[in-house]
């Protein structure tokens, strides 16, 4: 059994309004720090998954992302890191 460290980022899909991001955008514009930031907020998860091999562990990680960490109706996830621990 192998163990893998994974980092996952969950963000809203394109076209779904992100009020938190919009609020940060407003602040950046108001303070003159950045006019075109287009801030998007999201969530970050780091976890360990186990499996016989890389493919099995990756499949398990995808299932975790879809079933638990995100709601595919309005969110998408990206696996930022997937390395053997």
């Amino acid at each position: 059994m192998k163990k893998y460290k994974a980092d996952v980022i969950v963000t809203l899909k394109d076209g779904v309004r992100d009020p938190q991001g919009a609020a940060v955008d407003t602040v950046l514009k108001r303070t003159g720090m950045e006019d075109m930031a287009h801030v998007q907020t999201g969530k970050f998860f780091t976890l360990t998954v186990s499996g016989e091999d890389e493919a099995t562990a990756k499949a398990k990680l995808n299932a975790i992302c879809e079933d638990v960490l995100s709601n595919p109706v309005l969110e998408r996830y990206t696996i930022e890191r997937f390395v053997e621990a």
Binding site: L12, R17, P19, Q20, K43, L74
Partner: protein, 224 residues
């Protein structure tokens, strides 16, 4: 008074509208019980409530983790067997959407504010006045669904409540859905907070009376 109706109120860690919902059911004269979230047998109930609150701390997202609780797993079987009605209020509506028992999803209010006020709603069900005033109290009440889902919602006549002045950015002003085929109601407003004279609003009674009527009708059909 319908004292042959058996109502259950599911309690998750973090639920906080369970007592209000329980009292509303008691007011109706129903035999009411709390159901702890690890319960796996729901067959004795004619109606099951998923009350408001913050189940499992709303961790990851509102309603997300409740979908893995034994009681909600059992609820899926309860719905499949068409045993009775399911009513999700506020966090309960979020749980029903996350569980896919109702279509769509609830996202952050566009204002990013937790809204706590009474709102006017247009109803779409026999036995209810055309408009009712219910309390809302939520941070994540913006109903979202894609176009195909919305078309299905319209085709199945599932819109149950619509905001007269949309407070949270919900698509099509949707405040509540009613899957009539499967007896599942989900709504952000809180009818259980409008039962007793002391609260200054008793419009919630309309909802519970409508529900009592629907349950009685269903029971009659089962007897035949």
């Amino acid at each position: 008074m319908n004292n042959d109706i058996k109502a259950g109120v599911i309690v998750f860690p973090g639920t906080n509208c369970d007592i209000d919902t329980f009292r509303a059911c008691e007011y109706m004269g129903w035999q009411t019980e709390y159901i702890w979230h690890d319960e796996t047998n729901l067959d004795k109930f004619d109606v099951i409530f998923l009350p408001g609150g913050f189940s499992y701390g709303d961790y990851i997202r509102a309603g997300r983790l409740a979908k893995f609780s034994p009681a909600v797993m059992a609820l899926k079987g309860y719905v499949k067997a068409k045993r009775g009605f399911v009513v999700g209020i506020c966090n309960g509506f979020q749980v029903l959407c996350e569980t896919k028992l109702l279509p769509g999803v609830l996202a952050n209010n566009t204002s990013m504010k937790f809204i706590c006020e009474e709102v006017m709603l247009t109803t779409n069900h026999e036995g209810l006045p055309e408009t009712v005033k219910f309390a809302i109290a939520h941070g994540e009440g913006r109903y979202i669904a894609d176009d195909a889902t919305l078309a299905e919602i319209k085709a199945k006549n599932m819109i149950f409540l619509q905001y007269n002045n949309n407070p949270n950015g919900s698509v099509m002003d949707i405040a509540g859905l009613f899957d009539r085929e499967n007896g599942i109601i989900g709504m952000m407003p809180h009818p259980e907070r409008g039962i007793f004279d002391e609260t200054g609003n008793t419009d919630g009674r309309y909802f519970f009376e409508m529900l009592a009527h629907a349950i009685e009708k269903e029971k009659q059909l089962c007897k035949q």
